[in-house]
């Protein structure tokens, strides 16, 4: 049985995730704090934290359409950036004091250009060019990019970032990782104490609230959840996805009899990965090494495919996964080819795989529902 306190905490995480401007951001801003939006995983949030600001991973939560974006992005742009760009144009991201873009994909890259063109008045805009290959020279490039970002943050916001503050941000970030690892451990139980949708809400919350508050809240939740397991059951599924930030999507799968026990996704396991080296002689070197070579890799990174497949295969074994759902946002070429390659690997391993194509705003009806049902029935045999 779940405790009332656990239920309250999970509800709280869910509410934080269900909106862009959550109460924690409101409090932070009231105290004069700055909030800097980050687009995609390879923008190191630790740099923003070290500068005394709150990193906010940009999402399109609450978006009802992309009518304002389409003028700029055309109709071939992935719906994730199209939706958050729409929200930004509607003023829903006006609380951001800055946005750091990355060249992680063609769509994000061009949004940086269009952010200017659409006249969105975010006071600080920056583009970090993170490498697409694994090599020492690439790591050095990345480190220089981090220096450039740090310099611009210091210059624009009039702050000074010391090595000690960078170290502190890394320690805090590692603490979040350790807690999230414990959360994921709970999902290995035969009957986990929380669903995939609930886990996703907890994970997304880590990208939009002060880390210290988040860590305290997650620590409390973990103390309320029984490590031996809970009552949730269903076909044990792993979700492989990029910008999956809406727990509703997982609820829909779980309502059909699946149970998401593991993931490889940008708002999930990819946020965790291994710890960043602490007390390194160069925190920036440690950060660049972490994001380029140690973190759970992104399909965009050339040469990282075997590592990624190994992570997924190990996760399948550890979490006793019975089937994998590949969640793909239309027009994302990187993940389209990755899902194709993953399918071949899983076929060799005898793991059922279903690829779902969708748009960012969930409209999970009819055909898709039938496909998931059929997939679950196929696994049940």
């Amino acid at each position: 049985m779940r405790t009332a306190r656990a239920g309250e905490l999970l509800k709280d995480f869910s509410e934080i995730t269900g909106t862009l401007y959550n109460p924690h951001i409101g409090d932070w801003k009231k105290r004069g704090g700055k909030v800097v939006g980050i687009v995609c995983c390879p923008v190191p949030k630790e740099l923003i934290q070290a500068a005394g600001m709150l990193p906010f991973r940009i999402r399109g939560t609450g978006s009802q359409g992309t009518e304002l974006s389409e003028k700029f992005t055309g109709d071939l742009c992935c719906s994730f950036p199209r939706n958050f760009f729409n929200q930004a144009q509607k003023g829903k991201l006006d609380f951001l004091d800055g946005v750091v873009f990355s060249n992680n994909c063609d769509h994000y890259r061009r949004l940086y250009d269009n952010w200017h063109a659409a006249g969105i008045r975010t006071p600080f805009l920056h583009m970090i060019s993170n490498p697409k290959r694994i090599a020492e020279q690439a790591r050095q490039w990345y480190e220089n990019e981090m220096v450039a970002l740090l310099n611009r943050l210091q210059e624009h916001f009039g702050v000074t970032v010391t090595e000690a503050e960078l170290e502190q941000a890394i320690r805090q970030s590692n603490e979040t990782r350790r807690l999230q690892r414990r959360l994921y451990e709970l999902r290995k139980a035969g009957h986990p104490s929380l669903t995939g949708a609930e886990t996703l809400a907890v994970m997304v919350a880590s990208t939009c609230m002060p880390p210290q508050t988040y860590n305290q809240k997650l620590e409390s939740l973990l103390s309320e959840l029984d490590p031996a397991g809970g009552s949730h059951q269903g076909i044990r599924l792993m979700i492989v996805s990029s910008s999956l930030d809406n727990p509703v999507f997982l609820t829909l799968i779980e309502d059909l009899g699946g149970l998401i026990v593991a993931d490889y996704s940008c708002f999930g396991a990819k946020l965790i990965g291994p710890d960043i080296e602490e007390n390194s002689s160069s925190p920036l070197q440690a950060l660049s090494r972490h994001y380029l070579t140690e973190a759970i890799s992104c399909p965009r990174l050339y040469g990282s495919h075997p590592q990624r497949i190994q992570f997924i295969q190990e996760t399948i074994r550890e979490y006793k996964v019975e089937g994998v759902i590949g969640d793909w946002l239309t027009f994302c070429d990187t993940w389209n080819i990755f899902h194709y390659m993953l399918k071949q690997e899983l076929k060799k391993d005898g793991i059922p795989f279903l690829m779902i194509e969708r748009e960012y705003i969930p409209s999970f009806k009819g055909q898709l529902k039938t496909r998931v049902q059929a997939f679950l029935e196929m696994i049940r045999g």
């Binding site: 992935c78 965009r300 070429d333 389209n336 080819i337």
Partner: protein
């Protein structure tokens, strides 16, 4: 080959390139040069095929960014998709190509760039010949990068040597230094794999020939400013091939380019435009030309409406880097810049919105364009997200822009007739026709 096969092959070639028979029979110097270019192109194809058969050093490229280095090292470059594409058309006609496209859709769905999708299919279907090395550019576009991952992890390919060049999303000295470092690393890699050493004097010589070829290309393009425009897009494609792809560093290509400039110069002096065309509308095709269906569209627009495609993105020659061969460092920096900034897809895909604006202004003004047609190729997603910025720029210039929407490979996605209708409607609405 049977008579029927031969007839089918001829019709496909004529569909793609127009009447070869007419070229053969023509005494017009412009036509003779075009014929010569086709012959040189065929000779080069045979040379690469022979190198593949004899297992001489070859490099399959996912982008065409470093031909100078390969030429200097005596490594035959070819495009990854080149031979599966050619074979499908030559042996199966247009239906053969369409069949390949359909199969690639079965694998990857319809939303990915059809060219990249086809390359992935060629690997999966074991249609692509094995080169000595694979060289890609991991940052030109998402689909190209992902395709490289597919190739380098495919069971048939994963043990084959491959190298991926990465270009940052910014253009400054630091970026060029980063790319130059990779080019040198690539050379070390190629030396190890092929056993062929790079002779810096040879590289210098190739760069100097290449500089001259680019200058000739630039002179040729200057002549295309003339009204009426003296050259068509197919001829322009050949100039591009000579100066930027298989003709690089080859004296015979330089000789051809010199003749092209001379012949075009004579046409301009005589006030001659395209044969049989009364030019009324000049337009800029803001992407690379659609080789499969381009002739059908552009020929009929020219013949019926006097609408001439004066410039496209791939035959555009922006102010480019002349490689400084006076010292080694300058040479590598020049190669880095040329590889990623100067031309074609690397320039435009990696360029900022400002670069798009500048190119729009330059081409529209220099070539007296009446209109800009933005093809809106389904695969070019990054460019697709800049159409509004370019449209705003065109508005400032007082030139209308049409966002067409098409697939540059597969004319079943948007039929040529439908495209033509959209373009004609656009010309009529804007008062151009």
């Amino acid at each position: 080959m049977s008579e029927q096969d031969s007839a089918s092959e001829k019709s496909v070639i004529e569909e793609l390139f127009g009447s070869i028979t007419a070229l053969i029979e023509s005494q017009d110097p412009y036509d003779r040069l075009m014929l010569e270019a086709y012959q040189m192109s065929l000779a080069r194809t045979s040379r690469v095929k022979r190198a593949l058969e004899e297992q001489k050093p070859t490099a399959a490229m996912g982008g065409n960014c470093i031909p100078e280095i390969l030429v200097a090292m005596d490594i035959e470059p070819f495009q990854f998709l080149e031979f599966p594409f050619q074979d499908a058309i030559l042996y199966g006609g247009m239906e053969g190509l369409r069949d390949m496209v359909d199969k690639s859709v079965e694998m990857f769905g319809p939303h990915m760039c059809s060219f990249v999708r086809l390359a992935c299919y060629a690997v999966e279907a074991r249609l692509a010949p094995f080169p000595t090395v694979v060289i890609g550019m991991s940052s030109i576009c998402d689909s190209g990068s992902a395709a490289q991952q597919l190739v380098s992890n495919h069971p048939d390919w994963k043990n084959r040597p491959s190298y991926s060049i990465e270009s940052p999303a910014r253009r400054d000295e630091k970026s060029y230094e980063y790319i130059a470092f990779q080019l040198k690393e690539l050379v070390a890699f190629l030396e190890k794999i092929t056993g062929q050493k790079l002779d810096l004097d040879k590289l210098k010589e190739v760069c100097e020939i290449s500089n001259e070829q680019l200058q000739l290309w630039w002179e040729y393009n200057e002549l295309r400013r003339a009204i009426p425009c003296p050259s068509d897009w197919k001829f322009a494609s050949m100039v591009n091939q000579m100066a930027r792809y298989w003709g690089i560093g080859k004296p015979e290509s330089t000789a051809w380019l010199k003749k092209a400039v001379a012949v075009l110069g004579e046409k301009v002096k005589a006030g001659k435009g395209l044969e049989g065309i009364k030019e009324k509308i000049r337009f800029f095709w803001f992407d690379f030309p659609p080789i499969i269906w381009g002739d059908r569209l552009f020929r009929s627009l020219a013949e019926e409406y006097g609408a001439v495609m004066v410039m496209d993105l791939y035959s555009d020659n922006p102010p480019h880097t002349m490689i400084d061969t006076s010292n080694e460092k300058a040479m590598w920096m020049g190669l880095a810049k040329r590889a990623t900034y100067d031309f074609g897809m690397p320039r435009i895909a990696l360029g900022s919105a400002d670069l798009y604006r500048q190119d729009t202004i330059r081409v529209v003004k220099d070539f007296s364009m009446d209109a800009v047609i933005w093809p809106g190729h389904k695969g070019h997603k990054d460019a697709g997200a800049l159409v509004n910025i370019v449209a705003e720029q065109c508005r400032e210039l007082g030139v209308p822009l049409l966002n067409l929407g098409c697939d540059l490979l597969d004319d079943r996605v948007v039929p040529v007739g439908e495209m033509k209708k959209k373009i004609i409607d656009f010309f009529q609405i804007t008062g151009l026709a």
